[in-house]
Amino acid sequence: MTERSTAVSRVWLRPRAGLHAAGPAWRLASLAIALGVLAPAAALLWLALDADFSHWLHLARHVLPQAALNTALLLTGVGALVLVIGTGCAWLVTTCDFPGRRVLHWALLLPLAMPTYIVAFAYLDLLHPIGPVQGAIRWLLGYDSPRQFRLPDLRSMGGAVFVLGVVLYPYVYMTARAMFMTQPAHLMEAARSLGESRWGAFRRVALPLARPALAVGLSLALLETLNDIGASEFLGVNTLTVAVYTTWITRSDLAGAAQIACAMLFVVVALVLLERHGRRHQRYGSAQRMRAVQPRRLHGATAWGATALATLPVLIGFVAPALYLLWETFKRLQQGHGLSQGLIASLGNTLALALGVTVMAVVAGLIVAWTTRSAGSTRNRARWQARAATLGYAVPGTVLAIGLLSPALAVDAGLASLLGLAGLPLMSLGVVLAVACTIRFLAMPVGGIEAGLSRIPPALEQASRLLGETAQGTLRRVHLPLLRPAIAASALLVFVDAMKELPATLLLRPANFDTLATWLYAEAARGTYEEGAIAALGIVVAGLLPVVLLARSQLHTPVAPDTPALP
């Protein structure tokens, strides 16, 4: 019976020739979006190759080696740290039962709400030689001068690895936990019955099975590391990202910036390949549903040790910096300073930018996802477009900005002469910035809406068509109402990410245009620490929303968790 009915539904699911749900206009729009996403990379290559060779030699000799080495060290360090913290915590909360486990299950995701630059900003002050933490340690040890005792300086490679590691581990935690939870228990039991210890079974069975999931989480964390500009710069680590920024901003050398950005693209491609590889095998690994591993109850000191161990990342990655921001905000408001005009304007700018990006990304995502779904026999081409359209998440903000700069300037100049305007209309209205953010965050609505569409049975579309409704009418009357939750969730993710965005915003914002993130950046760069905490708090509060959403969705579907949201 079931065999028969699946056979029948498979026939109905075949590409629907004759439906032509997405007409030529849709397909053209989808193609344009895909090409738009690829345009910055093409422009980068062109810019980089167009510059003369001596230019390249100069960069290769004086700028690239140090920046590339720093980036490699940072990626290695952060990679190792997120793997250890993420895998360790995921293993603890899925296989052991200890006090606080239920809370930690979702609390371990909280650092996702902390942009890297905010954590760096907070820890610079918290761990300052005359700051609260070092002061407390000296008081405990009975010293009275920073000269007698001080922690290693946070402004270092080690400091950057620490800061990025404690906020980026949730990517690994998330994918590893999903994998451990779906791993069939009998595999572990088989290993134990063959004479392996608990640790041996973990090392020889659970870990290799989880490797694809770890690769996915690791690549996402490293893409974020590569994207980061604030933390590295505050902590004085000159990475490739920072080099792109300074080459363009302080030396106005677009060709040079493009060449460094091209070098970064190679790293990006490697990381994306790692991620895709992981995802292919992950699908295979979690295909079977069987009895999952039951957590083992821990007792006494071991139990409390586990609690302490799993709480530490939450404390360091979220609670401490959040409390710091709250305290600083409280102090500032206590002193009777109102919010400055500049900060209020930045908040307005941030919300306007995030709203615009959300609308653009959701509309573009809907076009791409709908065209892919109804592509019929041209399915492969449409799939290719969908994949191209979602590549933006992997491209670091600075790279994207440099790549977008020259096509945007060309369009702007053309537009200005066409309309008889002076200056650069798109650039100064922030349209270029909004486009850059849309490209970067497009993967979330495309993925979310595609997943939503895949849950709508094709029979609904067919029923609607047979009841006399056209393809567009079916989209409006059947699919859009059913997609509302998927659209709302991806809109929230885009909105919050656009609010947090720093690197592309720094490069592409119009003159005298600040968002909360650039406001914070400017204060941290000046070392003034006035209203930075308030701006940061605003971003973190907004950032908590999608984390709550994520935590809830994972709590309610413990057996078959969705693919984790992209960063």
């Binding site: 026939v11 049975p457 029979a459 067919q462 047979l466 009841l467 006399g468 056209t470 109402p481």
Partner: protein, 228 residues
């Protein structure tokens, strides 16, 4: 309203990994207006593909499909599904989950004025015996009720032909027997031309005036059922 179905020399195929894969070839069928026909056969024999082609989801590679005087499909003609006046009952009901029973039944009646539409919806709900379920959503209905709403929805725009794709296979035995008879009587009363696809021989015998047995993409028998 209701019309006769003619299929001549129909060939259906889809683009597989290794070129064109022919599923149905040299398929002929004539169903008079007001009659109920049934395609019977094992899974994979191509019966559902024929139904898809009649509905307009599958192009005709050769031959033609006519409904009354209207040419629906030929290698050069492909009328879009929404203009074929073909209704369908799906195996998995395919009720719109965001609309209640009355809104589902009224989905295909947008061309009517509001008053005429709600009169037609009421008439259809009464026809399937679910007049008091109008405000309920699909998830609040039993499987048998859902399928009856699906029938009301399909019949509401007065289609020239009704297609039924394994319409009772998701129901339990007793509901299935009862509903088979009910649906047959409703279709007979309305004089509705209908085409059923099933793998269940008893269902075919109960429902249909003509039963066709399909094998390897061809109709091997097209007959009056026993006892008629």
């Amino acid at each position: 309203m209701t019309a006769a179905l003619h299929i001549e020399d129909l060939r259906l195929a889809y683009d597989g990994a290794r070129g064109l894969h022919v599923v149905v070839d040299g398929f002929n069928l004539h169903l008079e207006a007001g009659r109920i026909g049934c395609l019977l056969g094992p899974s994979g024999c191509g019966k559902t593909t024929v139904l898809r082609a009649i509905a307009g989801f599958e192009p005709a590679r050769a031959g033609r499909i006519r409904l009354g005087e209207v040419l629906l499909s030929s290698p050069d003609v492909h009328l879009p599904p929404e203009r074929r006046r073909v209704g369908m009952m799906f195996q998995e009901y395919a009720l719109f989950p965001h609309l209640n029973a009355a809104q589902n039944v009224g989905f295909g009646l947008r061309h009517l004025q509001r008053a005429a539409r709600s009169a037609r919806v009421a008439e259809m709900l009464a026809l399937v015996g679910l007049a008091d379920a109008r405000a309920r959503y699909p998830h609040e209905l039993s499987g048998g009720q859902q399928q009856r709403i699906a029938l009301a929805r399909a019949l509401a725009p007065s289609p020239a032909l009704l297609l039924l794709d394994e319409p009772f296979s998701n129901l339990d035995g007793r509901t299935r027997e009862r509903l088979t008879v009910e649906v047959r009587d409703i279709l007979r009363r309305a004089g509705q031309t209908a085409m059923l696809v099933t793998h269940n021989e008893a269902e075919a015998q109960t429902m249909a005036d003509h039963v066709g047995v399909m094998h390897d993409g061809r109709l091997t028998r097209w007959s009056e059922p026993l006892g008629h």
